[in-house]
Symmetry: C2
Subunit: 152 residues, 2 copies
């Protein structure tokens, strides 16, 4: 029943590989496995976790290649580092564009949302008062997702 639909993760993966390609990177089995593990992850993964996840599909992959691929994806703005209260909790696929992350401290999932206008009033007041010209910002929220609120 119903016709076949490509799943979301497959689309994300193709998009990521395409972007790597466009930027001049070669598409290798190692990168495919790493990118796949990244888009399939239900929460931000650190390099070690991403390495272990990628090895399921491509056991010969090395941790070094995970670092190098993350570096490339960060460079392309496809991935963001996620900060918890006590430092970095991992990297998450965010896709292109201005995205922010809300991280649930209970289940560890990251929720991606857009919102570049929300900070403009703050940025403007900073320009007016301090004459500080804002070029970029780091904004991440921590809290509890709907499901984890319900669970308590």
């Amino acid at each position: 029943m119903g016709r076949w639909l490509p799943n979301r993760e497959g689309l994300k993966m193709d998009f990521l590989l395409q972007e790597l390609r466009r930027a001049g990177y070669r598409i290798t089995d190692a990168r495919r496995a790493i990118v796949q593990a990244l888009v399939n992850a239900s929460r931000p993964l650190n390099p070690q976790e991403l390495y272990e996840a990628a090895r399921v599909q491509h056991p010969r992959v090395g941790l070094v290649t995970v670092y190098r691929t993350l570096e490339a994806l960060l460079e392309l703005g496809m991935v963001q580092k996620v900060h918890g209260e006590q430092g970095c909790v991992g990297y998450v696929y965010t896709g292109r564009g201005h995205r922010h992350v809300a991280w649930c401290r209970a289940c560890g999932r990251a929720f991606i949302f857009e919102g570049q206008e929300d900070l403009s009033s703050l940025e403007q007041s900073l320009e007016r008062t301090l004459h500080f010209r804002v070029e970029g910002h780091l904004l991440q929220l921590t809290g509890l997702c709907a499901e984890c609120q319900a669970r308590t």
Copy 2:
């Protein structure tokens, strides 16, 4: 001429030591030197830099004590980690309360400002749409300060 006024850094230092004291920490020469170096710094310092700065006043201080003191000050919310585009650039004194940091990528100075209300609309919309309950946030701005804009 005019009567003597305590300088700002001295006041900050006394305040920090007082807060450490109130939290049950002992005031030692090492901590005094580290706290002094921190409030006198013109920009965020990493542990190594803070260590070198503290050694000017107290040459016997160890790097470990710098780490331990930073940990205590972070715990007390007196100090914040500052993130540049490529990761942590150091720690800066922010004082008590809800403070944000704007970091100048040219001179490396950090500008501290208050503004807890600025994010409330964003947080509310997140609660409405995702039902995500926001508990905390990380917000830091990067850009150019007034003087560094003038310099170009």
